[in-house]
């Protein structure tokens, strides 16, 4: 076990835990924002730099501060480590910088983007960005590309978080999805628009934090906050598929099917393309009940039922350490 202090709160975590996960165990107020780390994907994280934190004491044995800010998602804790996240002016400054970089070439056309309302970049800029842009250069644009019949890629919105690449690498077979070109010309590619055709490819839609990868069966059917999310499951024939999903209803119609996302916006279990794209009848599913949506989310704004009483808002398991 290692004892770490993050923003003044102490917690004991197993050895090998990352700073990010230790902070998540304390709770959402302390956890750094993430745009590329994904708990379900190996080797994810390290790219976006939004989760940078300041280590003011390296460990019990060597209490020197680390010279640079570190990516909390890729740095493991040491016993006696002291970390500053929200309490560090350096971190705030660097994070605002990262948000500015991520938005530099982003079209900011949220009103016409399908991801609006469930976009992590929107949340991130709202929480950590400036409200004024300092650039008037033309932004980088790309043509839209269809990845098979069901998925659309619009690179213009991509923040190159590599999540879809890791998904393609780790949970679909026969990888044909990667990054070509370099620097700010880099783009996600399925080797010259070859369709990725396998059972789990649809998950790239769920992992994409922005509106770069979207579900063509859902595109522009409805704003997400006008839909009603309902938890449901079915006995999926595909062994690797959990069959646990969220159905997004408008009236009686299932507009789309997605995996279930946890508190951090990361899917709990991946689902197969059959569940996602082909099972759009209520009769296909066993309904569990309305999905709880964080009351801070815009999706809950127009909700048919007030799901979350403010008091039920629960921190992750905290082990309080009494001095």
């Amino acid at each position: 076990m290692a004892k770490v202090t993050i923003d003044g709160i102490q917690i004991d975590v197993p050895d090998g835990t990352t700073i990010l996960n230790a902070a998540r165990m304390i709770g959402p107020d302390v956890a750094p924002p993430t745009m590329c780390y994904y708990s379900k994907l190996k080797t994810s994280g390290g790219y976006c730099r939004t989760c940078l934190v300041e280590v003011t004491a390296g460990s019990e044995k060597d209490p020197r501060p680390m010279p640079k800010l570190v990516a909390s998602c890729r740095t493991t804790v040491m016993d006696g480590m002291v970390v500053a996240n929200n309490t560090s002016a350096k971190v705030k400054d660097a994070r605002a910088g990262v948000v500015e970089f991520l938005l530099l070439n982003h079209p900011l056309d949220c009103p016409v983007c399908d991801q609006a309302g469930e976009c992590h970049l929107q949340d991130l800029s709202y929480d950590h960005g400036n409200y004024k842009t300092r650039t008037d250069f033309e932004r980088r644009t790309f043509e839209k590309i269809d990845i098979g019949e069901k998925i659309q890629l619009h690179m213009t919105r991509c923040i190159l978080c590599y999540r879809c690449v890791k998904t393609a690498e780790q949970i679909t077979d026969g990888r044909v999805h990667g990054v070509i070109n370099r620097g700010d010309h880099a783009e996600i590619s399925t080797y010259i628009e070859q369709a990725i055709d396998n059972d789990f490819s649809g998950n790239v839609i769920d992992v994409c934090p922005v509106g770069a990868l979207t579900d063509k069966t859902f595109r522009f059917k409805s704003r997400v906050w006008f839909t009603k999310p309902v938890d449901a499951h079915r006995n999926c024939e595909n062994e690797k598929c959990s069959g646990k999903v969220v159905l997004w209803y408008q009236g009686e119609e299932v507009l789309r099917v997605t995996g279930r996302k946890d508190q951090w916006g990361e899917v709990e279990e991946f689902i197969c393309n059959t569940c996602r794209f082909d099972k759009k009848q209520t009769s296909d599913w066993t309904i569990e009940g309305p999905r709880k949506i964080n009351r801070h989310s815009v999706i809950s704004a127009n909700h048919y039922m007030n799901m979350v009483k403010p008091k039920e808002f629960k921190l992750n398991e905290i082990k309080q350490i009494t001095e």
Binding site: G45, G46, Y47, C48, R49, L52, P67, K68, L69, A71, R74, D93, A94, G97, V98, E100, F101, L102, L104, N105, R134, T135, F137, I159, L160, Y162, G178, V179, N181, R182, G183, D184, H185, A186
Partner: protein, 453 residues
């Protein structure tokens, strides 16, 4: 008198061939190491010599070697970084072109020290003609029993391969190099783990620059203690400097560390003074990444001492008034040079070469280039200069690999020392644009052009 160690026999005709190289005492270090020393002794000698990495960071080589993990049953690798792409640096090319056997000899001795039975020279793609030179030299070494199975009848075996890159600067960063060598996209890895623990194919690996590996040869021949006496303080030995820009005699020079910068620029033995006897304006002392310094600060440190060609002296004063020895790419600029224009060239390079993995470098390098271009084009504002400063500040230290820093430092130092030139471009756009931009592109002497209009 200049002390030549690496380039001792550079003027001997045919030194690039095996027979001549051998007749001048070539491969003696391999004989000495394999026959009279065990690997640990070789590492010790390199430690004693005080040799520091010549690839840019100046990390003590002996220490790096001793960090190499040695788990049972797992191979370890030595990889030579011959990706030399830092603008202003061309010393490795010189070494490989004229003394290919020196590098191969160094590779054998170093591989023996590290217990590596397979080693690679990862060479910059544009150096394709050197691939042929090296491969010819390697086949000569095989033919004469210096490579292959049971070298010199000992039970040490080594295979050596040359692997050309595909022309990306980022593949010079050691972990990107390893990715590329493995056949993947050359993206830097997130460290830790460091290559000494998990490098090539996940095995313990040492990555060293060409010049570092070549320097192992004289160290073993003359002993580490003797080598440590050359140079000054913690800057032991000699260093190859690639001198370019407005000097009378550009080229690759081997210097003993500790000579003064003034000597290096003005003495006939080295650069021979400024071209057309103009005034010195600024120097980039260690390749495009290191901070640029104005004439007064490159010749003397902030506290008035003469600046020396050594790791410590060049870094004296930190980034406020100092710079770095870096890879030894010494770029001299005379009074007619536009700092902003030069910076634009550098910024364009880093923008082009960013791998795009992390957001500050991917987006920031392009943004900086655009702003500098805007200023150069006469459309800049004074706020743009501050913005530029703020962008570089937000890149530096916040990226995965040091390319982000390398892109930020030239911008920071140009503004720090030459802010007035940026302001000139803003305040007097048309004159600046016509003269500097046009004449530069056409290689016309700007100062003369100024006086004629």
């Amino acid at each position: 008198m200049a002390r030549k160690i690496l380039l001792e026999h550079i003027d001997v005709p045919g030194i690039n061939t095996y027979d001549v190289y051998r007749s001048k005492g070539g491969y003696a270090s391999v004989e000495k190491a394999l026959k009279t020393m065990n690997p640990q002794d070789v590492v010790e000698e390199v430690k004693k010599s005080g040799l520091r990495g010549r690839g840019g960071a100046g990390f003590p080589t002996g220490m790096k070697w001793s960090f190499l993990a040695k788990p049972e049953g797992v191979p370890s690798y030595l990889v030579c970084n011959a990706d030399e792409s830092e603008p202003g640096t061309f010393k490795d090319r010189y070494l490989m072109e004229y003394l290919p056997h020196l590098l191969i000899e160094g590779m054998i001795t170093s591989s023996y020290a590290l217990g590596a039975n397979t080693s690679y020279i990862y060479i910059r793609g544009e150096y394709f003609y050197l691939v042929r030179i090296l491969e010819k030299a390697i086949s000569e070494a095989y033919a004469n029993g210096w490579l292959g199975k049971n070298i010199l009848g000992t039970n040490y075996s080594l295979d050596l391969y040359v692997h050309p890159g595909a022309g990306a600067y980022i593949c010079g960063e050691e972990t990107a190099l390893l990715e590329s060598l493995e056949g993947k996209r050359g993206n830097p890895r997130i460290k830790p783990p460091f290559p000494a623990i998990a490098g090539l194919y996940g095995c313990p690996t040492v990555v060293n620059n060409v010049e570092t590996i070549a320097a192992v040869v004289p160290i073993i021949n003359m002993t580490g203690d003797e080598y440590a006496k050359i140079g000054i303080g913690r800057s032991a030995g000699t260093k190859l400097i690639s001198a370019s820009g407005h000097i009378k005699k550009p080229g690759v020079y081997e210097i003993e560390m500790g000579i003064t910068v003034e000597d290096f620029i003005y003495s006939d033995e080295y650069c021979g003074g400024i071209l057309n006897d103009k005034k010195l304006k600024a120097v980039v002392a260690g390749g495009s990444s290191v901070p640029i310094l104005p004439a007064d600060l490159i010749l003397t440190t902030a506290n008035g001492e003469k600046r020396l060609m050594s790791y410590e002296s060049l870094a004296d004063g930190g980034f406020a008034t100092g710079t770095m020895l870096g890879s030894g790419g010494f770029i001299v600029m005379d009074e007619s040079t536009s700092i902003v224009q030069n910076l634009h060239t550098f910024a364009r390079f880093y923008h082009h070469e960013s791998c795009g993995q992390c957001s500050p470098c991917r987006e920031g390098t392009g943004w900086m280039e655009k702003i500098i271009h805007k200023i150069l084009d006469g459309h800049g504002t004074l706020e743009d200069i501050d913005l530029l400063w703020d962008i570089q500040r937000k890149i530096e230290g916040n990226t995965i690999c040091p390319l982000g820093d390398a892109a930020a430092w030239p911008v920071a130092s140009a503004i720090r020392h030459f802010r007035h030139e940026f302001e000139e471009f803003v305040k007097n756009p048309s004159a600046q644009r016509e003269v500097k931009y046009y004449f530069h592109c056409n290689n016309i002497d700007t100062a003369a052009a100024y006086s004629s209009i």
